[in-house]
Symmetry: D2
């Protein structure tokens, strides 16, 4: 049924994201949840008790100071990442954290976090969950193994079902730094090569009010890679038909394509049409296998020294692409991306 080594985990942050992750973590027997923290943890007490999680605290430092805990999962909003990851590293805990590591556009802040991780010799896995999506991971592996020869063009379509509320955008960052950053990482992951140049155009075709946040809802992006290949990304904050996540890699010996994951295989044929109901799964459902898989990989890395699903370097490289895209939109010109990485 299950192996017997286990990690002893503390969870920091039980907002919407944290609650979703918690349910997924409960399905992994190798994760023993020792303690949870959230500033509003009192409101969740009954439900947490019901799940058998009785050690609850409002102060995340209780988690970091708990000697029974070897690993922390940080699910708080982006503006807390820098402080919390650094403190967790200094407390000697292995760390899972969502991207990015800092709200600061200057990458130095993130690099400082990574140095703390390195100096304390702990593991840090970044929540680039799409790398662990079974479809995308399969494409990645097939590209790596040469199934389609030399990869030449990667194309990523990534659309959200609804515009994120403006107050949340303020806390987690705009389109490029929150949403598209996943696509920059996916592009690198698929190509096995670093992005060297970015040209981006963006608009407010859905929600003109985003101008107040200096943010956008629509973007198209050209990429150039160190290996000479090209990439295309297109983003929208509102696809009325639901979350839309597709990847295509074209190479010298073929093409790999992952269509959007549909919620149903049922087809209705009537007098006018062939219809598939569109259950519009939100990201929590769409990427549930990915969320569980990335946690399993993290566990496997801690227990068996397997590779991490996504590293600190990965988040820095994606951030550089996002910065270049922002500058490209601001200037109307293509921008180079630095591929050197030294901690």
């Amino acid at each position: 049924m299950a192996s017997k080594k286990r990690i002893n985990a503390g969870i920091i942050g039980l907002g919407r994201a944290g609650q979703m992750h918690l349910k997924n973590l409960l399905t992994i027997p190798e994760i023993n949840i020792v303690q949870v923290s959230d500033i509003f943890v009192d409101k969740l007490a009954d439900q947490l008790n019901f799940m058998g999680i009785t050690n609850q605290t409002r102060d995340y430092m209780d988690i970091l100071n708990n000697p029974d805990i070897d690993t922390v999962f940080i699910f708080t909003s982006t503006d807390m990442h820098e402080e919390m990851v650094t403190a967790a590293a200094n407390a000697g805990k292995n760390i899972f954290c969502e991207k990015p590591l800092s709200m600061s556009p200057d990458e130095q802040a993130s690099l400082n976090v990574l140095k703390a991780v390195r100096d304390n010799n702990v593991k840090l896995q970044i929540g680039f969950n799409r790398r662990s999506d079974p479809q995308f991971d399969s494409i990645h592996q097939q590209v790596v193994s040469g199934t389609i020869g030399t990869p030449q063009v990667v194309k990523i379509t990534s659309r959200d079902p609804e515009v994120t509320p403006h107050n949340i955008i303020k806390r987690i960052g705009g389109l490029l730094f929150d949403f598209t950053m996943h696509d920059f990482d996916m592009a690198r992951f698929m190509m096995g090569s670093d992005i060297t140049e970015v040209y981006a155009q963006a608009g407010r075709l859905v929600d003109p009010g985003l101008a107040e946040l200096n943010d956008y809802d629509t973007a198209i992006i050209n990429l150039k890679f160190a290996n000479g290949a090209f990439g295309l990304i297109d983003n929208s904050r509102r696809a009325v038909y639901g979350y839309d996540q597709r990847v295509e890699v074209f190479g010298s010996e073929g093409m790999l394509k992952a269509e959007n994951v549909s919620g149903s295989t049922v087809e209705l044929y009537n007098a006018d049409n062939e219809i598939k109901k569109n259950p519009k799964p939100a990201f929590q459902q769409r990427y549930k296998p990915a969320y569980i898989a990335e946690m399993r990989k993290f566990v496997d890395s801690i227990l068996n020294d397997a590779p991490l699903a996504a590293t600190g370097k990965d988040v820095i490289m994606a951030q550089r692409a996002a910065n270049a895209a922002q500058k490209s939109i601001d200037t109307g010109l293509p921008q180079k991306v630095d591929t050197n990485f030294q901690l």
Copy 2:
């Protein structure tokens, strides 16, 4: 996160099926697993302890005698169903049990079990898991709501990836009584009407050795329904491309069709072909959402008096169709099916 009413469950039988069900049950917070039993439970002690299930016994009567338990899940092989369900009913427990209720071809044995359930006023849900498959349930609901007008023809394709080992067939029953019985139930469920006539042909095209068990590996079956509609079932015990489960309902105003659930959306286009890798999910993966959904419905029925997903009558009616199919194969003639049901 989750409601706070709960059932207190005992699990009987932790063989292959029981272990699969146990993992699924652990994801449902409303199910509190109080105690488990299996004649080989000692071998599972470590793993069960790891899951936090420390109350373990070899004797299923300990479960039935445990006053803290209100509901039992019976996952033993078919030859134990009759005795165990009767005993559980007499012990006043709600019961989940896989079909059929008895190895006896004579339905009187099953009817006696159902009488014990009725007399003790407990709930019994039968493990016709496919009724809770999201695809098939969606078709059922659309047929019921009139989306395709009057249903006229139901077609079911049901193929296993590999021939079940002969020693297991001996314990759980042959093709018609183990495998096709699901399809008979599905046909009734889809049409909302009872089967009135069956014509079946069967062969040993895969494994001639099944002759020793008087069993078959291939069958095609014609059905007639009380509402005048028709049905077609085709079965094979070995589809080299994997488990194949499809349903189609054709009606006066359209058609509903559920294609087989594929394990991947990734397509490879190369010089000769368009290829989808075929990960061949076994029934445990294919029907995982169904297994969890049927358990949720059972819980909902106990806690909130919602309807059961499948009842004792359902198993009797499917069994009659299986008996008629067997007689049709033996005689070469179509057979009527009695639709009266009185307990």
Copy 3:
């Protein structure tokens, strides 16, 4: 561009079917249309002249007596086939004719026609157009070449978009002899084996008025083949979503499946659904490639002695299956089919 051998053709019958075939024949440069006949040819004079077909007659005997013509295409209704094919054979012409060769349920009439063909040493190709459909022909060839190992089960779904008008049914025959006959032939073609047993059920679920013609609109049919394999056919005279023609062959090493040919690849994703417009191609469009391909094969057989796409034996064997199905419906019992064929 094109080879230079040519056949000199006469066309008999320019009703709806004949006009469709004529347009297809005009696209084949090896067919030189010398003369056409139809009892209402006067009404078509302008259009035929426009096409450059100026030699027109009301009397089909003018075609048979025309020494410049070596090949005749008979597109009249079924009740004329027996007389016309016999006369054409006696006139020494190669013959293309739609099935069946006679309205008589007794196969002796058809056998007499075939004897005239044999005695006059002319070619006769039967219009089993579906054999030349690129999809179905590809399945046939792959089955023959062993791609799926030993074929075990063939499944054919064949549904018309609308009930044929009753006055036409009177002239061309009922469901089994007009419509299902194509499926019986397809079943033999796919399996490479003769049908040995038929069990059929039929109903009037769409048009109860068909009772006056002793005809049906819905049928499900079980087949047994000489090679031990099985078959399933399901028919309806009215699919509101349009013409539906599918074939599946399941074998020991895999499955081949041809989904219905859709009129479009355009998909619309909106807030509720994924929709494919359903242009409902009629049989003329659906099978246009097949109609042209069967004519090319006929030409190739005449000019280069290639095999005929469908022979007189094929029509007799399909007719026997149709007769057995009729008898099965009448008696409620399965019926054997004679596989001996001696002219």
Copy 4:
């Protein structure tokens, strides 16, 4: 069968493209082919006679001087377009011609041709055949009719199966001016709006020898439209899996998508994979319905004054986008496109 008005046509150029078009034209009864010309017409004499086209000449001026001809179809290579279209216009003939109208990068040459067309009051249809593809035309019509609300992003994938031989590239122009020009036109057609800005990147990932021709085999292109929308094009000269032509339009109320047209619906399921044979139709087969439909529209425009499928303005606008893309590649900078059009 067919209407009785007719155009009297002369065909100029019977190379590979001309022969393909000729076969398609022969299926349209309203086109009466009076005379054909080609400098190598002698080699085709037998085949043309076989088709009943006996009036053959080496000199295209014979066509233009033939008073029985009202319409000319020009299928010669690009370097002859400027001279021939001008001469045909001056001879008062309606003209069908492939794009572009001139080899000159300066659009003045093309504008001069269009002025001749205007001054002689004849019709000129450009061979932007993809506008008449049933799939793409359906998307265009649905976008126009508001099915997906306001269009926001158009995406076009266009890949050739093989690198065009270098000597042909010299005669017909490089990637942008021969191949991508279709995509620029398609983008305008889909969006119903002019292209205002182009950013392009290109490489030689397939055939480095193209450097000698200053040409490319791979390109990715960003577009901005007058209506504020965006576009993405990706091109390759060699997709090993065959010709790949896809279009997607994303809008405020949904998405329309045309997948690549596959040559077969037959699927093979075996032990490892689900496989669709990839018959790799070349452009002649892929766009056959489009080639015939564009000719029907041209005929309809001449006989019934229906709109032309593609006009002189359309070719100029596509050419400007191609010029901007070339300049973008040369400079590494995005380029504006002039949308004013005055003849």
